[in-house]
């Protein structure tokens, strides 16, 4: 039975897997102890649970449990990773390389560092959303301390060539940080094979709870250190003070374990559904996939429908289908997505895009409903669109002098 509304905004957050919630409940109730309480059974139980979760989390990314620093989420881990390296390696240099399509948690952290006197290079991406490796290497300078490139993009799902990026970094003795938020749990990520030195990721994008994430910090070859950004009791090896979110961490661990076991089958199933959705929507005239089709997360598609506006499009079905638009009108800023613009899309196409993020729980019925609903809305809005009419009459829209307002 098809149940409405349908949730296809899984890049924003995923629903919790009920199996995850089940493991968390006891740590809200009976085992509520503080994992830092060393001298009674409540503390011991909490500590044991955290240790176990740390192993589960580490295992998913091929790390050692000692390399996992729990945080409140990926944003905090981005901040700690980047600012922490910037401060810790200040004597070595002050230059960071990142890309224009990074998440705001990385971009704004880098902007902050610039205000502190640091130097940041923002690499442009190619039309497929990938960075150019030669440009990356050319951007490295004697004072470069860190390369921060996201593993997979949150808007278009493009997966960056992390192995190649880290090989270049290593050659020049530069550390690699990656925002792995969208990738971890969805595709195989292995910090050793991928040559990653630091990585931020979070539970709520992989069927775990909100409010808990982690920073991976390499301990061997090389041993990486970050300066703490939070002062206090010296938790997490002094790198992140604050009482641990024990139930959240337990859930994070379970979510990682489930992803480890089910990633392959989840990816096979979601990519099949995603491909069906994409193929059907590309049947609509003047519709385009944004970003690389080849180097892409299995459950993500970002599609533009020319001459219809994203927010107007969403309104046609957003009571029944939860989706995100590349046009940030929905967040009241009226700016089209900076990620899509970075691909070289005109504002018009950037305004006309929808982001689809499927999940472990997405069904074929839901995809069929979505295909029909979106197709109907696009066709209806095009009937209403002066741009579509002009396009059909063969008028070059770029030749018109629009009164920008």
């Amino acid at each position: 039975m098809l149940q409405l509304p349908i949730y296809l905004d899984n890049n924003a957050t995923t629903p919790m897997d009920p199996r995850v919630l089940e493991t968390m409940t006891p740590y809200f109730l009976n085992h509520f102890g503080n994992s830092a309480s060393r001298n009674h059974p409540f503390g011991w139980a909490a500590e044991e649970a955290v240790d176990y979760a740390r192993e589960q989390v580490a295992k998913l990314i091929g790390a050692d449990p000692k390399e996992i620093i729990f945080t409140s989420g990926a944003t905090e881990a981005d901040n700690l990773g980047i600012k922490g390296v910037y401060e810790m390696y200040a004597s070595k240099g002050n230059h960071i390389i990142t890309a224009t399509t990074e998440h705001k948690a990385v971009i704004d952290t880098c902007k902050h560092i610039e205000k502190l006197g640091g130097e940041v290079t923002y690499l442009q991406v190619q039309p497929d959303g990938l960075i150019n490796l030669e440009e990356l290497e050319a951007a490295i300078k004697p004072n470069t301390v860190l390369i921060s490139i996201m593993y997979a993009n949150n808007e278009i799902g493009t997966v960056m060539p992390m192995k190649e990026i880290s090989a270049i970094a290593r050659k020049h003795g530069v550390l690699v940080f990656t925002d792995g938020t969208q990738a971890v749990g969805k595709i195989p990520v292995d910090v050793n094979k991928d040559g990653i030195d630091l990585m931020a990721f979070t539970a709520h994008k992989m069927y775990g709870p909100k409010g808990v994430g982690a920073l991976y910090v390499r301990r061997k070859n090389p041993r990486v250190k970050v300066t703490a950004q939070m002062d206090g009791g010296g938790h997490e090896r002094g790198m992140r003070s604050g009482t641990l979110n024990v139930p959240g961490i337990v859930g994070f661990g379970k979510a990682c374990e489930l992803c480890m076991l089910e990633m392959e089958s989840d990816a096979a199933r979601t990519s099949k559904l995603r491909d069906k959705l994409q193929a059907a929507l590309l049947q609509i005239e003047e519709s385009y996939v944004n970003g690389s089709i080849e180097h892409r997360l299995p459950h993500v598609a970002n599609i533009s429908f020319k001459h219809v506006e994203g927010e107007g499009l969403l309104m046609g079905f957003n009571k029944n289908i939860a989706l995100s638009s590349g046009s940030a009108c929905t967040s009241a800023s009226l700016e089209p997505s900076y990620v899509l613009k970075a691909l070289g899309l005109g504002d018009d196409l950037a305004h006309s895009s929808l982001r689809f993020g499927l999940s472990r729980f997405t069904t074929e019925e839901e995809i069929d409903y979505t295909i029909k609903s979106i197709t109907d809305t696009v066709l209806k809005l095009r009937e209403m669109s002066p741009l579509w009419e002009m396009y059909k009459e063969g008028i070059d829209l770029d030749s018109i002098e629009w009164a920008a307002h």
Binding site: G310, G312, S327, C329, D347, H351, L397, W402
Partner: protein, 139 residues
């Protein structure tokens, strides 16, 4: 952000979507906005030369639900009005009628601009001077 019921109704059942013959001397066409800004409105009026009354109005809009609703409402209001009366349509009346939130006021501004542009196009075609409008509206 939730839309008002009136906006939803205009979005689902837009009034007067379509195209009038823009070559006709009776027809004034206003095309405002820009694709880069995420909204383009084309509003057309058909005027009876003798009476100065607007006998028909049509629109096509590329934009959000509020932009579609603003132009749909504008065409409804235009029909049966004289050109002079049409000039008095103020964007704030559209805002009130549709309960537009502050972030969507520009949609109503665009509709007002489209009305004025259509009237000026009609005037120009028929040998009348274009009316100069103050830049009163917030862009």
């Amino acid at each position: 952000m939730a839309y008002s019921e009136k906006v939803i109704d205009h979005y689902q059942n837009p009034k007067n979507v379509g195209t009038l013959d823009k070559a006709s001397k009776n027809v004034g066409t206003g095309l405002v906005g820009a694709p880069e800004c995420g909204d383009v409105m084309r509003l057309q009026i058909e005027v009876n030369h003798e009476t100065g009354m607007i006998t028909d109005a049509k629109f096509k809009t590329f934009g959000c639900g509020s932009a579609i609703a603003s132009s749909s409402l504008a065409t409804e209001w235009l029909k049966g009005k004289s050109v002079d009366e049409a000039l008095k349509i103020d964007n704030m009346t559209i805002v009130e009628e549709l309960n537009l939130p502050p972030v969507k006021i520009h949609c109503s501004v665009l509709a007002e601009d489209a009305i004025k542009a259509a009237i000026n196009d009609y005037r120009e075609k028929n040998g009348m001077e274009k009316i100069k409008f103050e830049e009163s509206v917030i862009h």
